[in-house]
Structures are given as structure tokens and as C-alpha cells.
Subunit: 343 residues, 2 copies
DNA sequence: TATATTTGCTTAATCGTTTAAGCAAAGGTA
DNA sequence: TACCTTTGCTTAAACGATTAAGCAAATATA
């Protein structure tokens, strides 16, 4: 019904009999405009319910004030929290975010990048899909000269900012904890080695085993995509071994959940017979029986840092990007699934 | 490093010695441009890696090709799935979506609306925050003349499109199921009556009790915000009753989880002593022990319909909006928490 | 052959804002 | 009084695309 023409700076200018340029400057508190005019302009703007046309200013200034965020999925507490914090920090500086989900698909990720570039975002903050190995699309972002910030799932070769937790050390902490519980045959259901973070967790696992003089058994180190289904399958595989492990460290909570289900279905006592540790501290780790020990990834901090890193780029107009890692310490949340001894 | 100037249609025009207008038309397959020129233009566009400047076309055409989506939160499987399907449908038609989270806060919701309007979105698809009672900001959207589509949490008074499930009938199905299990004192931990969907669930609960000639006991009908914490508190409240219920229907899965925890902690047999039913079919309902019977809300369908409804508005250039409800049948997923009898 | 229509482009205006350049008036300095 | 600076604005050109209007050449119609 209200097919109201939107108010523009020209309308304001007409009311006050000044130029549109003066209005624009008044609204931006330019020093060359008198206080009297500024006050008048702002008053009229208010009266006419003036809303600046973002498209016009974006076109003219070359800045869209939009930031693209790419995540594998939003329905994980980790990514959701990261997003929330990115949004919070950026909103305060007048930026809006466009969220896209890759659903762990490389194809979808490429589409997302195209969409974001098409929308003229001023920067992209991303966590890569599991599938992603070809970095050509990310190079495309860099070649456009807009800031690219990676978090969680990153890649050294891209030479851009990266924010994440210390995956290598997290594995150490986990193995240390399990050893303290008296575990001697610790298995690892890990992610794919080609993904940096999972590779680090695997390396950390191997080195920690060495440190505690535990045997490194190939049967106990499994790569998978960390879905719940695969967690089930791989746990079953471990149970079929002649020499079963007495602890399983799973590199993702969803897969850990699958493992837990299989253990429960086989009436295996957790943690007495087999202790279980997950990764990610998803809310459900505290809901299931027994609750699953997991690693808190400091999602809020990661989101905040990613946003601030973007803002730093914008402020400094640094076009050259280089590998700049910000690594946070992760935190082990010990729960029933690995608490053999009352500490 | 690559501070490449972006290619514009002028660049293409210069290469071919034709006008920018001709290039624009060629790219849009205008019938008044020869096939030869079209082919040449597209070739050059490809060679120069031309990417249309979305801001410019949006400004000129008055269409940003962006759709705003407002949800209470993204880290629920329901909203995440709705979003995913909205995105899927809209992307195919050349639209991108901007997702914002209200975090159930009215203030944050208003900010989101302002941000989206500022970004010149072509439409808004929203599910309202629990807190929202003042509809003034939603009226603002309507007054801008852009399509507004509500889903899940809607409001009749706004007179806009609404897509959701049949909450009233869902309650009927739940009560019917519990009666079939032999339950005679069915409690309801519901949401706030002021929110339409929770009101419908409460009305459905009351009417279904009447239908099955069960007593309607005020003690057994509780309003709350459906958080896990409140689920715990209200379940405890029910346990403290002299005359305990033999079934509890909770209007949200997170609150149902809290109820489950309290029941487990008090060693109450589920479903033998007290049967439990949740709402929303969150993945964790299938993970906890016992698994929780819940209601599937057809998130994918809702997302698809919301997107298609938006597209219909755009196509028909219908500026006048009216209350147009699309109500889907919900589906009860029976799990251990209410399965007394083997059916 | 003369006129009408179609084809294939060009010109120029436009979307709403920002911003470099310019200019008159007021105030300050010598 | 003559000159310089500052103040407070205006003018006009962008940003990159779309599009109405126009026009010449080619083709069709009478």
C-alpha cells in the first residue's frame, strides 16, 4: 500500500535550500559545515525519516560494509558461536555479515565465494570445508585484494591470517589425561590428514604416545570424516580387534557420539573398560550418558579475533596479506566418559 | 599485491569499440543485439575476467537481490535447516541471503531489521524472538513496501504471509499418543501464551484433554521460556506435587532435555512412571537416554515454502500483503521416552 | 522506386551518494 | 588599505550499471 518514495539527501537539500553535497557533508559531520546547518539537516532528516541508501554510498565509496562468512555449517555450537561473535564485533563498526554454509561441499563453497564476491563484500572470513583441497577459489579472493581471514580449518599455503586453537598441544593434553587415568592402549579416530587441524591432532597424538612410551599401533590410528555414522563404524572396527584399546580419542564430538552409542550398545563400561574423549565441546557431550570428555575450542574468542583481524586490515589498508597465525590454548573439559579416578 | 582495477563494461566496450550500453545489453541477451556482438562481448568478458558490479546494477534497478533472514538462533537444527533450504531455493534465482540472529532479544531483532533495511534487502523472511510483542519494527518493513514472510513464530495481526506447522493439532496428536500409552494425568510445560505457536499448543493440549475426558488440572499447565534450565525447574516443580503427573508434554526439546535430566537424577522410570514428549525433533532427542519422543516440524519444507512465497511476491509485484497462512502437518516421532507398549 | 519496418547500435540520463575543486564572504594580519 | 586564511557553502564529476530515446543502415513492403 505505502508505495512511498524514499527520502534522499536531495529531498533534504530542497527543504533547506542548500545543495545535496552540503547535506551529505552535514550528515557526516564534515568540519566545513556550520553547526547550525548540521543541526538543521539532521532535524529535517529525522522528520522525513531519511534512511541513507547503502547501495549508492557503497558504489561511490567502493566499500559495501558487508563481510562474508563461510562456515561448513551453522548448526554446530562452535560455528554458531563464532558467527555470533564476529557479528557482534563487526556490527559495532557498521559492518553487516553475510553467512553462507558450505555443507562440507567444495562445490558449494566455490558458489559461496562467487556469491560473496558478486555481492562486493569488503572481506571474507572463512572456515574451509572438509573436502576442500584445491585452493584456487581462495586465491581468487586474495587476487581481488580483499582481506581473507581463515579460522579453525585453515591452510598455511594461502599465506593469510589464521585463527585457531593449538590442535597439536590439545592432543598432548588429552593423551596426558588418559595416561593419568591409567590408560595404556589409546586409539585415535581422527579426521583426514590432508586437513591441517586434523593432521596436527594426529601428530600431537603420535608424539604424545612417544612421550609416554606408549606403543604406536597402526590398528589404533584411523582416519575418517568424523560423522556420527563413521564414528559408529570405526568404533565397531576397534571393538573387533583382538587387542582392544582401553581408551579412544575421537577428533570430533559427532563421531565421538557414534562411538559412544556403539560402546553402550555393546554394554562396554565407559570409562572402566574403554575411556572416551571427544573434541569440540558440543552441548550434547554434556547431555548423553555418560557425558563425554571434550575440548573447548574458545569459539567466542576465535570469532572476536577474526572480526578484529579483519578490521585491522581495513584500517591499515594493508593489501599484502601474509601468514599470521593466532593460536589459542584449548581447554579439556573432563566428564564421565574418561573420569576413572576421582581426582 | 594484485591491486588490479576491476574490469567494467566500459573496458569490454573499449576493446570492441562499441558502447557500454551495447555491452550491457549483450550480456543480458537483449534481442536488439546481434549474435555476433553477443558472442564477442561474452568472449572478451571472459578473457578480462569480468564480474558485474552488483552494487551498480542494484542501485540502478532498485533491486539488491539480497534477502534478509532473521532467526532467534542458528544453532538449532530446525532453524539451520530452514535457512539452508531458503538459501538453496533463492540462490537458484540469483538471490543471496543475509542471516541475522536475534538471540531471542527484541532489541537485537530491531537492530537486525534496521541493518537489513539499510542494506536494501529485497525482502525479509523472519521468525520472531520470544520476547517480541511490539510489532512496530515489523510494520516498518511493511511500510517500506518490501515483502515480509514469517515462519514458525509469527503474528496474525501483521497480516503477512506465514508458514508453520499445525501446532494446535500437534498437541492433539501428542495427547492422543500418550492416552494410547495409558497415561491419565498429562502435564504440559509450555511456552508463553503470548507467542502464537505456544498459545496454539496450549489450546490444543486443553482441548485434547477435554476430548479424552481427562481432568484439566491447573497445577499441570505451566508457562515458561523453554530453556533447559527452566525445563529442569518446572519438572522439579511437577515432581514436588502431591499428585504427580504420569506424562509430561514439553513444548520445546531443550526444556524437555532439562526435564529428562531431573527425571533421571530422581531415578524415575521413563516412561513407566512418567512418560515424556518434547517438541522440535532436535538431533539430541535421539542421542540421550532414554531417547525423547518429539515432533518433527518439517524444517526443509518450511524453508522452501518461505523462499518460494518471497519469489512469488517479487514476480507478481504484489505490494499489498495479506494474512496468508500455509500450515503443514507435523509428525510425531515416537521414541523410548513415551513408548510404554510395544505397538 | 518510395515508404515502412526491423536491426543494431549510440547517446545521454539516471539510480543516490561522495568528494575534489572552486568560490564568495567573513575574519585576521601586516 | 591590501593581502592572506578560514569558513561555509556550491558545482560538477564520479561510482558502474541500466534503459529510454534516437538514429542510421539494412531489409521488407507496397
Amino acid at each position: 500500500m505505502n508505495k512511498k518514495k524514499k527520502t534522499t539527501i536531495k529531498d533534504i537539500a530542497n527543504v533547506l535550500n542548500i545543495s545535496a553535497a552540503a547535506v551529505s557533508k552535514a550528515l557526516h559531520d564534515d568540519s566545513r559545515i556550520s553547526d547550525k546547518t548540521k543541526k538543521a539537516v539532521k532535524q529535517v532528516a529525522e522528520n522525513l525519516n531519511y534512511q541513507p541508501n547503502h547501495l549508492a554510498s557503497a558504489l561511490r565509496s567502493g566499500k559495501s560494509k558487508l563481510v562474508g562468512v563461510i562456515v561448513p555449517r551453522t548448526n554446530s555450537s562452535f560455528f554458531s558461536s563464532v558467527i555470533q561473535n564476529i557479528e557482534h564485533v563487526l556490527n559495532e563498526k557498521g559492518y553487516s555479515i553475510i553467512i553462507t554454509q558450505s555443507n562440507e561441499s567444495y562445490q558449494k563453497e566455490c558458489n559461496s565465494i562467487d556469491t560473496l564476491l558478486f555481492t562486493q563484500v569488503d572481506g571474507i572470513i572463512a572456515s574451509m570445508a572438509n573436502e576442500t583441497v584445491d585452493l584456487q577459489y581462495y586465491e581468487k579472493i586474495k587476487s581481488k585484494g580483499i582481506p581473507l581471514i581463515l579460522f579453525d580449518r585453515g591452510e598455511n599455503n594461502l599465506n593469510v591470517d589464521y585463527i585457531g586453537i593449538d590442535d597439536y598441544n590439545s592432543s598432548h593434553i588429552i593423551v596426558e589425561h588418559l595416561v593419568a587415568q591409567g590408560c595404556k592402549r589409546i586409539a585415535h579416530i581422527g579426521g583426514y590428514k590432508r586437513t591441517r587441524i586434523y593432521n596436527n591432532r594426529i601428530r600431537g597424538y603420535i608424539d604424545a604416545l612417544k612421550k609416554y612410551h606408549l606403543p604406536l599401533d597402526d590398528e589404533l590410528l584411523i582416519e575418517t570424516n568424523l560423522s556420527t555414522e563413521n564414528g559408529r563404524a570405526k568404533m565397531q572396527q576397534l571393538l573387533n580387534l583382538k587387542n582392544r584399546p582401553d581408551a579412544v580419542y575421537v577428533a570430533g564430538d559427532y563421531a565421538a557420539l557414534g562411538a559412544l552409542q556403539v560402546l553402550n550398545e555393546n554394554n562396554i563400561k565407559i570409562p572402566e573398560e574403554i575411556a572416551l574423549v571427544g573434541f569440540g565441546n558440543e552441548p550434547f557431550t554434556d547431555m548423553v550418558t555418560p557425558s563425554i570428555t571434550s575440548v573447548n575450542q574458545h569459539s567466542a574468542e576465535i570469532g572476536r579475533l577474526a572480526a578484529e583481524t579483519f578490521l585491522k586490515h581495513i584500517k591499515e589498508k594493508t593489501v599484502t596479506q601474509k601468514l599470521n597465525k593466532q593460536i589459542l590454548d584449548a581447554e579439556l573439559i573432563v566428564r564421565d566418559s574418561s573420569k576413572k579416578k576421582t581426582l
